[in-house]
């Protein structure tokens, strides 16, 4: 088709039967209001699901699946599509038997029921949760062909929760305290060391996500929210918080979630998620089907250090950049949506996006990161992603140089 701004692209030879013939839904009654007490997406959207990569892990229980970013819009991830990462599967906790204990360097070790937690003042905050390993398979080169797989270890949710500070105040934190160790009730007994300063600053014990109670796979009946910091720290099925004066150096902060550099040394306690963005459409799973002409490029951006006032989009692999249009509310440590509308002339493009956060940090290229970190660090790959768009509208995960 020819590019034609401001004039009709298609002319219709004969009347469209989708209009001139009566469709069944225009004539006959559909399902009633008692059919779906809890509703599900249209059957026409059955392909919009979390997907896993079987070869990544030894089994599907200690494993991960991925948010279908290329099927979503705006900044909210629907609960049914929030990626899952479990270390011993989904704990099906009975809320009546769930307890939250606070012990260690406190004046009074405490036990709270779920009902106790619901009697504290609560807050509502929107935060992204990104796994530190998101995009980890891409360090050595372009590997997975779809933003669901390259960037889908992230979700963005509105949480309702009690500030952890209020619970710690209830137990009375001793003056020599400096760290906390949240622990999960699942069979992996997930633990991470978190500085007390962060715990008292903006951490929440969340009971609700996107308006309803937490989903089982996201920690029902309660999870820790650690804004801007790597997802592994957001302990699910939170059952205990120990207060201490030193970090614990547990498995998930030594064997895992430490960043191995090229010389064999390793960074520990790399908590903050650096600013990052990705174009979700077009992308390998979401080709352009409409041919040349007006085209919407869209994607998401986020930073563990603040908000995202600006995203730039390149059509030529980073040689030249255009400022994108930000849309939707801009919250600290939350996902942001950007759009870049342009007329595609049908020629091949190398699509990139580049986030700039409220601290002025600019998302680096993969080569910039490799220069400092090598290719073995697994975690914290926040580099610029390239999709090669071909003439037929398909997109491929590539690296450029």
């Amino acid at each position: 088709g020819a590019v034609a701004t401001g004039q009709m692209v298609h002319a219709q030879a004969a009347p469209d039967p989708a209009i001139t013939e009566m469709q069944p839904w225009q004539q006959y009654l559909g399902a009633g209001v008692d059919a779906s007490p809890y509703g599900m997406p249209s059957p026409h959207e059955a392909h919009v699901i979390r997907r896993n990569v079987p070869w990544l892990t030894a089994d599907s229980v200690s494993s991960i699946n991925f948010t279908p970013l290329h099927e979503l819009d705006g900044i909210i991830t629907p609960n049914g599509l929030c990626f899952e990462r479990h270390h011993s599967g989904v704990a099906e906790v009975d809320p009546g038997l769930h307890r939250l204990m606070i012990n260690g360097l406190v004046d009074t070790p405490m036990v709270f029921t779920v009902e106790d937690i619901m009697r504290f003042p609560r807050e509502n905050r929107t935060y992204f949760l990104e796994c530190a390993a998101n995009t980890g398979m891409e360090w050595r080169g372009a590997q997975l062909n779809g933003c669901q797989f390259t960037h889908g270890m992230i979700h963005n949710v509105v949480y309702t929760g009690v500030p952890l500070r209020l619970l710690l105040e209830e137990a009375g934190v001793r003056t020599n305290a400096a760290w906390i160790l949240p622990e999960g009730a699942d069979a992996s007994g997930m633990t991470r060391s978190i500085p007390l300063e962060k715990a008292l600053d903006d951490c929440l014990v969340a009971t609700h996500m996107n308006g309803e109670r937490l989903r089982a796979e996201q920690g029902y009946p309660m999870r820790l929210v650690v804004p801007g910091w790597e997802g592994n720290m957001w302990v699910k099925w939170l059952r205990r918080i120990e207060v201490g004066d030193q970090p614990w150096h547990h498995r998930e902060e030594t064997s895992k979630y430490t960043d191995l550099l090229e010389d064999g040394e390793a960074r520990r306690f790399t908590w903050v998620m650096d600013a990052k963005s990705v174009i979700t459409n077009p992308s390998p799973q979401a080709p352009i089907l409409h041919g040349p002409g007006p085209t919407v490029i869209t994607g998401v951006a986020w930073s563990g250090r603040g908000s995202i006032p600006r995203v730039d989009v390149s059509l030529d692999g980073g040689q030249n950049w255009n400022q994108a249009r930000m849309s939707g509310p801009s919250f600290d440590k939350s996902m942001h949506r950007f759009y870049y509308e342009f007329d595609w002339d049908g020629s091949p493009l190398l699509l990139q996006s580049r986030a700039m956060d409220s601290t002025g940090y600019v998302q680096p290229t993969k080569d910039q990161l490799r220069e400092i970190r090598g290719e073995n660090s697994i975690y914290h790959n926040n580099s610029i992603q390239t999709w090669a768009l071909s003439e037929d509208g398909t997109a491929e995960n590539v690296e450029v140089g």
Partner: protein, 218 residues
């Protein structure tokens, strides 16, 4: 941003004091300085037997791993190479982490089913497999402090603030940012390891051996 939810002077009086038995039941964490370790002990040979019974189906008789389950031993000298093998011996900085993790989470599917002495013995065997101790070693709450893990000093605090932030906090270039037009240097479609949307394409399974980078699991 809205104001934070308000504190109350003296607390809300919610929840209740935890009883000592309750804290004891859940307070299972171990620290590098040994804090949390129960009294107990176990030797390498006892550990080997337990390991073969409870662990080797996944981790292999010698911690070498079966299939894609985690490798627990060896990997020395690989950390600065192309394919680092991160094991207890080659990578883990603290012994306490082994005791804590095996006790809290292993065997996979039967967490916290091991007695304290069993955990001491298995941990001793894992140290032995990793050439950190000899075969006559007995690990106990008392010998614990004698063990030094080889790679402890390779870890340092996150230094992104000093090393990376200055580099990456600069006015971004908008035009002619590269030396002329850029070229594609690597394609994901060549690898072909992405799960297919429909059906059970076994491309991915085939590609596993060649393509899956060791230990890139999240």
């Amino acid at each position: 941003q809205e104001a934070a939810a308000p504190s109350r002077e003296g607390g809300f009086g919610l929840g209740r004091e935890a009883l000592p038995e309750e804290v004891a039941a859940w307070d299972i964490d171990i620290r590098p300085d040994g804090e949390g370790l129960p009294v107990g002990s176990g030797d390498v040979w006892t550990g080997e037997e337990l390991f073969v019974d409870y662990c080797s189906a996944c981790h292999g008789d010698f911690g070498e791993a079966v299939g894609r389950w985690p490798v627990l031993a060896g990997g020395f000298g690989t950390l600065d190479g192309e394919d680092p093998v991160k094991t207890i011996g080659s990578y883990w900085p603290y012994l306490s982490t082994v005791w804590d993790y095996v006790h809290r989470a292993m065997p996979y599917g039967a967490a916290q089913s091991l007695s304290d002495d069993e955990v001491y013995a298995i941990t001793a065997y894992l140290l032995y497999l990793n050439e950190v101790v000899d075969d006559d070693f007995v690990l106990s709450n008392e010998t614990f402090a004698d063990v030094e893990m080889p790679n402890e000093d390779a870890f340092f605090m996150d230094d992104r603030a000093e090393v990376e932030l200055p580099l990456f906090t600069q006015e971004p270039c908008m035009t002619d940012c590269t030396d002329g037009p850029v070229e594609v240097t690597m394609n994901a479609m060549v690898l072909d390891v992405t799960p297919e949307e429909e059906g059970a394409g076994d491309d991915a399974a085939e590609a596993e051996e060649e393509a899956a980078p060791e230990d890139t699991g999240p």
